[in-house]
Structures are given as structure tokens and as C-alpha cells.
């Protein structure tokens, strides 16, 4: 399985012309440069769409397009008020999407718990022993058997994500899928750093437990 290319905000050191940052592009768009917005969109459209889709889950996946479009249109309409101070553009973009997902989630009648206290106490690495039997991740040329294993693991992980509360789900996705630093995660979710950290630990613990419960059948099927 081909790994989707990740667009980096940082510039290539070998490139003679450094890539403009997200903030520079957004500033250019605020001055009327439409091409700057196109470059911004190209950078973030895939990651944002995937984030919204996974955050909504399978039951609300039909709302993905609506939230995705609404998020970008909010960016377009708020271009004059945006200032490259404080949070980065990516943080702002994902914050807008997260707000819209929460709205949809509440509209659908689901409970949105933003407090980690309501959740069960976190027990670190409840199923940590099972991970030691998984193939090594991030192999440059994974074996075909390993590819099949990770695909099934990915399917299983999406199922496990459905079991997480929205706050923990968003923290995990931002940190693991979109590779936001923990501080950025906290800004995106508009919570404190420790809160974000706690949510992330809860999410990882639950996911490891969830994934470890299925480890034996997956391994048995793969081997």
C-alpha cells in the first residue's frame, strides 16, 4: 500500500526558493491572491477531510462533505480578520473543523463529554504485552504479509476509534494522524496542555486495549 504523501509546511533545504509557510500564504490570500489559497488548499485538503471523516465515524460519515466545505468557506470569509499571531493556520483550520463536528455530533443527539473526569480512570498499557508481538512499524519495504496485517489492523483501529469519546478521539487523531504537537493539539481543542495530554493518554490506552483484544485473531489470520 502506497503511503500518501504528506505535505510539509517546512521548506525543503535543498530547494533554492523556500516554500512559503501557511501563514504567509494565508496573508497573501487575505490581500487577494487566489493562488495562495489554492496552495493552502492543496496542502491541507486531504488531511482535513480525513480528520473530519474519522472524527464523525461511520454513522455520521455522510456529513463529511458538508463540514469540510463549511470549514473552508469559513476560512474564506474570515480571511480579512485572520492574523498570523498566536495559533498557526493549521491549528485554526482544525479548530474550525472540530467545532463543526461537535455541532453535528450534538445535533445528532449524541453526548459530547468534554471532561476527562467523566471517563473511566486511565490505566496505562492495559494490553501493552500484546504489542510486542506485532510486526515492526514504519518498515521502508514492508513484506506482503506485513501489509496485510497492517491493513487489517487499520480496519480494526477505525472500529476501535468509534468506541472513544469525541474529545479523546480528536486528540488522538490530531496527534497521531495529523502529527500535531501536543501543544498544538491543546490549542486546537481549546483546552489546556495537561487536559490534552490526559485525553491523549486515555485514548491511546483504550485503543491499545481494543487492538490487543483482537491481536490474537489477526495474527492467527495473517500467519
Amino acid at each position: 500500500m502506497a503511503v500518501p504523501p504528506r505535505v510539509r509546511q517546512t521548506s525543503d533545504p535543498m530547494s533554492p526558493v523556500p516554500e512559503p509557510t501557511d501563514d504567509e500564504l494565508m496573508s497573501a490570500y487575505a490581500r487577494g491572491d487566489a493562488s495562495a489559497f489554492e496552495r493552502l488548499y492543496a496542502r491541507h485538503q486531504a488531511g482535513l477531510y480525513r480528520f473530519i471523516r474519522r472524527l464523525l465515524g461511520t454513522s455520521l460519515a455522510a456529513q463529511t462533505d458538508e463540514i469540510f466545505q463549511d470549514t473552508w468557506l469559513r476560512v474564506v470569509n474570515a480571511r480579512q480578520q485572520w492574523e498570523p499571531q498566536g495559533a498557526s493556520f493549521r491549528t485554526w483550520l482544525y479548530t474550525l473543523a472540530n467545532h463543526r463536528v461537535i455541532d453535528i455530533w450534538r445535533r445528532s443527539g449524541r453526548e459530547v463529554s468534554m471532561s476527562t473526569d467523566d471517563d473511566s480512570p486511565w490505566e496505562p498499557d492495559a494490553g501493552g504485552a500484546a504489542w510486542q508481538q506485532w510486526p515492526a512499524p514504519a518498515s521502508p519495504s514492508p513484506h506482503s504479509d506485513d501489509l496485510a496485517f497492517w491493513r487489517r489492523a487499520g480496519e480494526r483501529l477505525l472500529g476501535c476509534l468509534e468506541e472513544l469519546p469525541l474529545a479523546q478521539r480528536s486528540a488522538f487523531l490530531l496527534h497521531h494522524d495529523d502529527e500535531l504537537p501536543l501543544a498544538e493539539v491543546a490549542r486546537t481543542l481549546e483546552v489546556g496542555f495537561e487536559t490534552a495530554k490526559t485525553r491523549l493518554r486515555y485514548a491511546m490506552s483504550k485503543l491499545r486495549t481494543c487492538m490487543g483484544a483482537y491481536l490474537a485473531p489477526i495474527q492467527g489470520g495473517a500467519q
Partner: protein, 387 residues
């Protein structure tokens, strides 16, 4: 937990999830990008660079308020140019019209010797002769000069006209002068429409002859026998009125006040006569079947090219030498006169004299003094064309 403590296994599982390659629909992307471009255009519109100064000036002129102002200014300028050096007749006080009959029928020195009896004046058609109209439209002398010179000039004119005038009762000089000035004032307050008519007649002659219905009707045979008397009888009282007005102008011209008025009046009269001859030729050329010619006691004959060519020769020879026919005799007649009839009715009479040519028509009489070198070929050509 630090950023480096991300769970590598979970990340790898996420990377291989079935939705890892998911992309927004292309139509959705196109919609978002088009909206963004439209908003970008809106953003750049107010920050448009400064336009060229001429374009900015044009935009300023295109504003409704500015355009309306300039239109009003242009209209005022146009009206001002049209009335330049012209008295505002509507602004002048109206003078009461003269009511005394003797003043109305008072003759003037400009009355031709073949003038009709005074009894025919009331029966005249109301249509004005071109010469009279032209005189009425002629540039006028300064009003103050006219008023100052009018009493003295009128006294002299009245005294000189008294012996020859068939006036029923000689009127005092002062009332006559007042009446003639009043006639002048009436000519001044003529509506602008009539002025425009005179201007049109002077500028381009229409290819039609004056309406014959305005002339006193008389049998063609009788007119053939006494052409001069018939033509004289056809002159209307309008002519006498116009001549009276002309006499006022003439007296004013004789005074020291307005020598330029005399020149202008002469120019107008010449133009009117020349225009009338051109119109006569155009009328004959346009409808030759209605025209006949007659010489002496001979019978009327159809119009031919020779007569038309002679008229052209006459027009070329006289040019702008036409003058209103004066009272004095212009010399003995040379040969027979040429009469031009339309539908059997006498319209024009042309006579060559020792000093030039006499032209009488229904409402006016003209003369043009010509050198002998010009008269001789005209006479021979006329004898050849109309033997």
C-alpha cells in the same frame, strides 16, 4: 508523554486504514476554490490601482449631475449665440397699433410709378412679398438712432411725397411719423417663426414658384393686352405696407445714423431677387408643360429650351444687380417684352431697356442695371429664342 512517544503501532495502523487515501470529491474542491477566487476578486477590487487621469476625468463627466450641468451650459451657450446682437423682441414693450386711416394709406417716396390705384389695396392677398419680408428681416439700425432720426426724416419724406400722393387728406407730419415708427415697431415684434421663414427663403430657394392663388385673378387675354397694368393691379396692399416700412428704414438709412443698414438692405434685396429668378427657372424646369411664353401681341407658345437658356443667360448677366424697381424711368424699351404665363395666367414680365432689365411679377418689381455690352447679346438672344 512527549511528541516522540507517539505510538508507532497505532500510527502505522492509521496509515494503512481503508480511509487513508480518501480525498474530497473534485466537485466539492472546485466549488470551494471558485468561491475562494470570487472572494479574492472582491478583495482586490477596492484596491485597484489609480486610473489614468483622463479616464478619471471621463468618469467625472459621466456623473449625472455633472453631465446635466454641462448640458445646461451648452444649451445656454447655443441660445446666446443664436440671439447674439439681436434684440429680444419679446422683452420690448408693445406699442399700440395705429388706428388712423390716413396714416395707413400714406404713400412713400418708394412707390413705383406703375403703382395700382389705392382702391385695390384692401383686396390684396395677405401673403407678403419676398422683398418685403426680407426688408423686414434685415438687420436693423440701432433703435435709438431710428427714434431720433425718424421725426425729421419723416417730415422730409412726407413733404416730398405730398405732390404725387393721391392721399384723400394730408395728415400732419407728426402723427404720420408716429404711425410709421409704430409700423416699424410692429415689424420688430414679428414672431421668430416668420424670421426663420425669411432665413430659409434667402438661404436655399425651394423649387417651387410662389402660389398663383395669391395674385388677383384676371383673364389671360386681358392680361396679354395690358400686361403692365395687370401686373400692377396684382400688387397687393401688403406691398404698400412693406414699402412703407421700407421707407422708414430708408429714411433712417439716409440719416447719418446707419449707413451699414443701407448696405445690408441692398444685399438682402439682391439676394431675394436672385433667389426669385432661380426659383422661376427651377419651376419652369420642373414642370415646363404648365408654362408658356408670349411676346407683344403674339399668341402664347409652349416653353422651350431656348427660352429656358435665355433665362439662364439673364440670370448669369444680372447676378446680384437686382434692385427694387425705383420710381424713375429706366430708359426706353428695347423690343418687345417677354411674358411668362403659368396655366394661362400671367406670372412674370421681363423687359429689356436701354439701361438694363425690368422684371415684374405678381407681388414685386425689380430692375437690374446692365452695361450696354451685356444688354445687346441679351436682346439678340431673346429675339432668337422668342421671335
Amino acid at each position: 508523554m512527549t511528541d516522540q512517544e507517539r505510538d508507532a503501532h497505532l500510527r502505522e495502523a492509521l496509515r494503512h486504514a481503508p480511509d487513508a487515501q480518501v480525498q474530497p470529491p473534485p466537485s466539492l474542491s472546485a466549488l470551494i476554490l471558485s468561491e475562494a477566487r470570487a472572494k479574492a476578486r472582491d478583495t482586490t477590487a477596492p484596491a485597484r490601482p489609480a486610473r489614468h487621469p483622463l479616464l478619471a476625468l471621463w468618469d467625472w463627466f459621466a456623473r449625472p449631475s455633472v453631465a446635466a450641468g454641462f448640458a445646461g451650459l451648452m444649451a445656454a451657450t447655443l441660445v446666446g449665440v443664436m440671439w447674439w446682437d439681436q434684440p429680444m423682441n419679446e422683452a420690448l414693450p408693445q406699442r399700440p397699433a395705429p388706428a388712423t386711416a390716413p396714416a395707413e394709406t400714406a404713400p412713400s417716396v418708394a412707390t413705383p410709378p406703375v403703382a395700382p390705384p389705392a382702391a385695390s389695396a384692401p383686396e390684396a392677398a395677405p401673403k407678403q412679398a419676398p422683398a418685403a419680408e426680407a426688408e423686414r428681416r434685415a438687420p436693423e439700425p440701432p433703435r435709438d438712432a431710428l427714434r431720433k432720426s425718424a421725426p425729421a426724416a419723416d417730415k422730409a419724406a412726407f413733404a416730398s411725397a405730398k405732390p404725387a400722393a393721391p392721399s384723400p387728406a394730408p395728415a400732419p407730419a407728426a402723427p404720420a411719423a408716429r404711425n410709421e415708427v409704430a409700423v416699424d415697431a410692429k415689424a420688430d415684434v414679428a414672431p421668430p417663426v416668420r424670421e426663420s421663414t425669411a432665413i430659409t427663403a434667402l438661404s436655399l430657394p425651394p423649387p417651387v414658384v410662389p402660389a398663383p392663388a395669391t395674385t388677383p385673378t384676371a383673364p389671360a387675354d386681358a392680361m396679354a393686352g395690358a400686361a403692365a397694368g395687370g401686373l400692377a393691379a396684382s400688387k397687393s396692399a401688403d406691398e404698400s405696407e412693406s414699402k412703407r416700412a421700407r421707407s422708414v428704414v430708408t429714411r433712417a438709412m439716409r440719416s447719418e445714423a446707419a449707413p451699414q443698414v443701407e448696405l445690408s438692405e441692398q444685399r438682402v434685396q439682391q439676394d431675394v431677387a436672385r433667389t426669385s429668378l432661380v426659383r422661376l427657372r427651377a419651376a419652369i424646369a420642373g414642370d415646363p408643360t404648365h408654362w408658356t411664353w408670349q411676346r407683344g401681341d403674339g399668341s402664347a407658345q409652349g416653353m422651350n429650351d431656348a427660352i429656358y437658356a435665355w433665362l439662364a443667360q439673364l440670370d448669369s448677366a444680372t447676378g446680384s444687380r437686382w434692385q427694387p424697381r425705383a420710381a424713375r424711368e429706366t430708359g426706353a424699351l428695347l423690343g418687345r417684352e417677354l411674358r411668362l404665363l403659368r396655366d394661362g395666367r400671367l406670372e412674370h414680365s421681363l423687359r429689356l431697356t436701354e439701361h438694363g432689365v425690368l422684371w415684374e411679377q405678381a407681388q414685386s418689381a425689380w430692375q437690374a442695371e446692365l452695361p450696354a455690352a451685356t444688354i445687346t447679346p441679351l436682346r439678340s438672344a431673346l429675339d432668337t429664342a422668342a421671335p
